[in-house]
């Protein structure tokens, strides 16, 4: 009789283990790399429960969690981009427009309109990164300018939720001038002593940072948001150094006095409501 026997193990192949997870139930966090149960992630407003990384929201989703239910009325929905420069890079801009319209189910990268936030009527623009990286061309410039003008006319506060890679190169110089157009409109809103809140969400860079996004009376950023004028890659190429991990994140901007506060997504509506009730 053998007193000591080697224990027997069953070998579980990794493939077999993985096969047990049905597709679409889990997602991986872009930041910490952990697996998150999708239901939990959705209930948490698409914020990673492990590291607090805020995933991008579609413009429609943002409106749903920000505006009082059923109060949002969209304006200028039909405005659509045209390829007036006949711009062709790897693909013609014309094709990019159609592709992105199908993919994002939007005419361009912004939704504008009026709705109530915590019972206060507010003019609201939400950028959608899913449409050509939330880039600002003629349509975004025009829709935002019209919205600001409407807010000035109606004497109501304004909220712009940014998420953008910057100006849309395919519209050349015209896209650059949307920066000055929107800022000039904002100045008239400002002169009328009306409140403008800028909410920065991941990522906000380039021409959007260098125009309306940076001159809110109040500037709020969601946690772990990349915010900057030049993107980190451009800076790394210029200074030939690796940038620290936290560089250009919302917490970094708070430290440097560029924004008022960093807020977790679940508290954003409440914070907006408090500002609106104080100022309006």
């Amino acid at each position: 009789m053998v007193w000591f026997r080697k224990p027997k193990y069953t070998i579980v192949t990794p493939q077999a283990k993985r096969a047990k997870i049905p597709d679409g139930l889990w997602i991986r966090c872009n930041d910490c790399g952990e697996l998150i149960f999708k239901k939990e992630w959705e209930n948490n407003l698409k914020v990673c429960p492990k590291c607090n990384y805020h995933f991008q929201l579609r413009a429609k989703e943002r409106l749903e969690i920000t505006v009082d239910e059923g109060t949002f009325e969209e304006d200028n929905k039909s405005l659509a981009p045209i390829d007036f420069l006949k711009f062709i890079d790897k693909k013609p801009y014309k094709e990019r427009i159609i592709e992105n319209q199908e993919k994002a189910q939007l005419n361009d990268a912004v939704i504008t309109g009026c709705g109530y936030i915590e019972k206060i009527k507010t003019a609201i623009a939400v950028l959608d990164f899913n449409f050509m990286g939330g880039s600002m061309g003629s349509v975004m410039g025009e829709k935002i300018t019209r919205l600001i003008e409407k807010a000035t006319d109606l004497k109501i506060p304004l909220l712009i939720v940014s998420s953008s890679g910057g100006a849309r190169m395919q519209e050349g110089i015209i896209s650059l001038f949307q920066m000055s157009k929107t800022v000039a409109a904002l100045e008239l809103h400002n002169k009328a002593k009306l409140l403008f809140i800028s909410l920065l969400t991941h990522p906000t860079t380039g021409g959007v940072t260098a125009s309306f996004a940076s001159i809110g009376d109040i500037i709020i950023a969601e946690a772990k948001t990349l915010i900057g004028f030049a993107g980190p890659r451009v800076i790394e190429q210029t200074i030939k150094e690796k940038l620290p991990y936290k560089f250009q994140q919302s917490e970094f901007l708070l430290e440097h006095g560029l924004i008022d506060m960093v807020v977790n997504r679940k508290n954003v509506k409440n914070v907006l409501g408090r500002f609106l009730h104080f100022f309006c």
Partner: protein, 319 residues
């Protein structure tokens, strides 16, 4: 006479010009009459210049706009204005030499000048950071614009920059905010603003001091949402596509008139402003003065509105 940093497409012209110089020298030294030959060559050179410089490709225009021999903001200040006094500092952080500002006289007008400052050689370029401002440069521009408004003096800006500087300090001190705030102030200031794009109009860093009642642009200057190099790297993922990017971006003065972004093109002397800076400066001066005269007629309280109405029209979309 070869100009330092001459461009490829200028070479054939320079060869003829060298020949002319050689013949003139021989005429003097050996007392042989070459005047007929010289005349012929001069006509040929002139024709060639017209031919080459009226058909520059967008990329060649970019090279012209960046030409180190091209008159810079400092050159125009020296050639056009008198009694220039430089004003320094943003009163917040430091003096940024990439933007120069000050007061001067232009004929009978007392004006403020704000412009990007590029160097002519490595040493001066390092000193002026290649004309790429930090936030404090824009904040100086804001300070001077407010001062100009306080004393009802017109502002003339000169644009010539590769762009706002992309660096750690610039980001820490809010490059985006500085540009946006400059746009805001320039949109509301109640004095005439004349913008002259003299060389390279590089993106937001150029636009910041580019809101004006009149926007003038030199014939061979460029103005773009992004540099052709940057555009090629991002959209094509291929730095060799720079020339194609330049073509697509519509960045020449003719493009900008067609797109109704600028008001007027200032013709350059044949062969470009760098070949006869004095002549170029006279043309720039004339254009600025005629704009100043026009703008004098507009009541000061309507100037900001006029600028807004001009900006308001820029954009092309389907309704």
């Amino acid at each position: 006479m070869a100009i330092v940093g001459s461009l490829d497409f200028e070479k054939p012209i320079e060869e003829i010009e060298d020949k002319i110089a050689e013949l003139s020298k021989l005429t003097q030294e050996r007392e042989i009459d070459f005047s007929q030959e010289i005349k012929k060559l001069e006509v040929k050179a002139q024709e060639m210049k017209k031919e080459v410089f009226s058909n520059l490709t967008p990329w060649q225009k970019v090279l012209m706009a960046r030409h180190t021999g091209r008159p810079s903001t400092m050159d125009y200040i020296r050639m056009i204005f008198k009694d220039f006094i430089e004003l320094c500092g943003d009163r917040l952080f430091k003096e940024d030499k990439a933007i120069v500002g000050g007061i001067a006289e232009l004929d009978d007008y007392k004006v403020f000048i704000i412009g990007h400052r590029k160097g002519k050689d490595t040493k001066s370029n390092l000193e002026y950071n290649f004309g790429m401002p930090h936030p404090e440069g824009y904040r100086k521009a804001i300070r001077l614009a407010n001062l100009a408004e306080k004393f009802s003096k017109p502002i003339i800006t000169f644009i010539d920059t590769p762009g706002a500087y992309p660096g750690v300090g610039a980001e820490e001190r809010g490059q985006g905010e500085a540009i946006a705030r400059t746009l805001q102030v320039f949109s509301k200031i109640q004095v005439p603003i004349i913008v002259v794009i003299i060389g390279e109009g590089g993106s937001g860093g150029a636009l910041a001091i580019g809101i004006g009642n009149r926007i003038l642009m030199l014939e061979h200057a460029v103005y773009s949402v992004i540099s052709p190099e940057g555009c090629a790297a991002i959209l094509w993922n291929d730095p060799s596509k720079t020339i194609e990017a330049a073509k697509n971006l519509s960045l020449t003065a003719n493009d900008l008139v067609r797109l109704k972004v600028i008001d007027e093109i200032i013709k350059e002397p044949v062969g470009g402003a760098h070949r006869s800076p004095e002549e170029a400066s006279c043309l720039v001066k004339d254009s600025i003065i005629s704009c100043l005269k026009e703008l004098q007629e507009i009541p000061i309280s309507e100037l900001a509105l006029e600028r807004y109405q001009k900006l308001r029209k820029i954009g092309k979309y389907l309704e």
